[in-house]
């Protein structure tokens, strides 16, 4: 299941290590996560559901969906998809239970910072760079083992203008952003650490964070907080949607492009937006067969240039088609697809049996905004933004003073706009900490906002434009 050679990526041979899974000795490579090492060893069932004991596998690959919870070194409910595997580790499935309230051998640490940024993806790193350049102390926290968010698996070249690094692959942009942030002495980075909750504003915003495997609990006091927590992949309902082998398209991208592991041998892709067609193309590059792409809408949602790349490699795209069910004994063995009529009903007799071992869902994203809601920001349901979002003004500040949002957690968009929103949030948080106003910063801010508007023009920007129009209008009504 490991990718030997790849046209774009080079997977360095890392040190071989061994760990135990339910007593069985499993080979892994240093730097990979528990779930990816298990997948490489063809172990796809990671746990079972508590009530009906249905098998559970990998889904999102970025610690958001809780489908991969395992007991690791005795610690229950560890997200195996974002926890790096270590030599001698003990990993167990089927031992779901609540952890004890004791905190044995735990370490507590207090951190005070000017700006706390939750999420080190394109938005969070950009915010950190901007604030760090202004000389503010920044704490950048992310629960993944590496920085870069979803950029680290984007092997395709980005669109946009030169200034936004167009023509550069996402993986390269991630490296550049990481290098830039690490050069700033005022930016401190905490990885494998989850921000757990917001505990009010008393001489600064107080938040809790934890590194679960290292047993460290942080109490963070920050003058300003920027939430750049990204998004999570949507699920659609059909019989068999919880079978191991039904994966989020982004999860599959992580597995193959970050860890060099194939998700399976033959894939059915559901959804022909940019994510669905780009990941299908990347599956072909990884040497995985893509049977077809089905799309419920009558037309392809992604860019025609991406669809054309897939089509000239012989992969058909079935518009007005969707998935009816997935079947298999403990794992995906195939799927039934069918045509949809103009009222979104399946057309009887149009069913087709697609033999495959993997079904990828690329059916949309939902902003990760729970920490914001817990902090009490004013929220609204904005369908064009992908769901419930924090109301924010043009400088990315929410209804709770000193709390900002950027990137997908403020509404689903692209990495290129996330980077700009991050810059705006970082700059605006820094400016609010300055005692004197500086005309130069204000003109930089204006330029960022102008570029962002420019990027949302055109027919593909219509959803983002509408989402942001509604959010800004409500911010205005609320006096934010």
């Amino acid at each position: 299941m490991r990718i030997d050679r790849h046209p774009i990526l080079h997977f360095e041979k890392k040190k071989e290590i061994y760990f135990r899974y339910n007593g069985q000795k499993i080979k892994a490579f240093e730097g990979e996560t528990i779930a990816s090492a298990l997948h490489a060893a063809d172990i796809k069932i990671l746990s079972h559901s508590i009530k009906y004991h249905r098998p559970r596998g990998f889904f999102c690959g970025i610690g958001k969906c809780s489908s991969c919870l395992m007991r690791v070194n005795g610690v229950p409910n560890v997200r195996s998809c974002i926890t790096p595997v270590e030599s001698g580790m003990t990993v167990e499935s089927d031992r779901q239970q609540l952890p004890s309230i004791d905190f044995p051998d735990g370490r507590k640490e207090d951190i005070k910072t000017d700006i706390l940024i939750a999420g080190a993806g394109p938005a969070g790193i950009s915010a950190a760079i901007e604030a760090g350049k202004q000389g503010k102390s920044v704490l950048l926290v992310d629960e993944n083992p590496s920085m870069g968010g979803q950029l680290i698996k984007q092997t395709h070249k980005f669109f946009g203008s030169r200034k936004e690094r167009a023509g550069t692959r996402g993986i390269k942009i991630a490296e550049e952003l990481e290098d830039e942030a690490k050069k700033l002495s005022d930016v401190k980075i905490l990885l494998e650490t989850s921000v757990l909750g917001y505990y009010g504003n008393n001489k600064g915003h107080m938040l809790g964070a934890a590194n679960k495997m290292k047993n460290v609990l942080y109490r963070i006091t920050a003058k300003k907080v920027i939430f750049a927590c990204g998004a999570q992949e949507d699920m659609i309902s059909f019989p068999g949607n919880d079978l191991p082998g039904v994966y989020g398209a982004g999860g599959v991208q992580t597995l193959m492009n970050v860890y060099g592991i194939k998700p399976g041998n033959k894939v059915l892709m559901v959804g022909a937006g940019n994510v669905g067609i780009i990941v299908s193309y990347q599956l072909l590059q990884a040497g995985v067969d893509v049977d077809r792409v089905v799309e419920a809408l009558p037309k392809i949602g992604g860019y025609s240039v991406h669809a054309a790349k897939l089509r000239r490699n012989g992969v058909p795209i079935y518009t007005s088609h969707s998935i009816k069910e997935v079947y298999g004994d403990g794992k995906v063995e195939g799927a039934i697809i069918a045509r949809l009529d103009d009222k979104w009903n399946f057309v009887e007799g149009s069913e087709e049996d697609v033999k495959c071992d993997t079904v990828c869902l690329a059916v949309g994203l939902t902003p990760s905004a729970r920490l914001l809601f817990q902090a009490g920001v004013k929220r609204d349901y904005v369908p064009e933004a992908g769901g419930h979002v924090a109301i924010h003004n043009g400088e990315m500040e929410t209804s709770v003073g000193g709390i900002y949002v950027a990137g997908d957690s403020s509404g689903i968009e692209e990495a290129s706009t996330a980077m700009l929103e991050g810059r705006i949030a970082g700059l605006s948080a820094s400016m609010s900490l300055n005692h004197t106003k500086n005309g130069k910063e204000e003109s930089v801010m204006k330029e960022y906002i102008r570029t962002l508007d420019e990027m949302r023009k055109g027919p593909f920007g219509i959803k983002a434009r509408e989402a942001k129009r509604k959010i800004l209008q409500e911010a205005l009504n609320e006096g934010i």
């Binding site: 050679r5 790849h6 046209p7 774009i8 395709h156 070249k157 980005f158 669109f159 946009g160 203008s161 030169r162 167009a166 023509g167 550069t168 692959r169 390269k172 022909a272 067609i277 072909l284 590059q285 009558p298 037309k299 392809i300 860019y303 025609s304 240039v305 991406h306 669809a307 054309a308 790349k309 897939l310 089509r311 000239r312 490699n313 012989g314 992969v315 795209i317 518009t319 420019e454 990027m455 023009k457 055109g458 027919p459 593909f460 920007g461």
Partner: protein, 156 residues
């Protein structure tokens, strides 16, 4: 709704086909026809042959200025630009290619159309590997396939 929005295959009627004179000289043909915010091809062109009204407009190639240098083929994030050139016997097509194995000069490969169908064989005439791992593969095909072939498949 346009047909390509349903199928993902761009029809010739959607493209600005260069004249015989221009194809003989060798020019870049852009198959980027939607309004997407992107312009690296405009920036990279050494002779200013590619223009755009705004960053959202599809690129327009000035076939008189274009020299067929293929720098835009290498930079286009959508892999949507090809260089076509007709000779006396066959036609040369330069294709952006991101798969393994990379064919070698002189190798015979399968020639695929926009739907991935095999339409003929092609002979690889030039292979350039860029720093970012995108390859520019120039293949020779029959003259009448110059606007048909848009991909290759290595046979071995």
């Amino acid at each position: 709704m346009k047909e390509y929005e349903k199928t993902g295959v761009i029809g010739l009627d959607e493209l600005r086909i260069p004249s015989e004179k221009h194809i003989k000289k060798g020019v870049a043909v852009s198959e980027c026809i939607q309004e997407i915010p992107c312009n690296p091809c405009v920036d990279v062109c050494p002779v200013n042959a590619i223009s755009m009204e705004t960053i959202n407009s599809p690129p327009v190639v000035d076939y008189d200025r274009c020299t067929g240098c293929a720098q835009c083929v290498a930079v286009c994030p959508g892999l949507a630009i090809f260089v076509v050139k007709k000779g006396d016997d066959g036609a040369l097509i330069t294709i952006p290619y991101e798969f393994l194995p990379v064919p070698e000069k002189g190798e015979v490969v399968k020639a695929l159309d926009r739907e991935g169908n095999e339409v003929d064989t092609a002979v690889v005439r030039r292979v350039i590997t860029k720093k970012d791992n995108t390859c520019l593969i120039t293949v020779e095909v029959k003259k009448d396939l110059v606007m048909v072939v848009r991909n290759i498949r290595v046979m071995k």
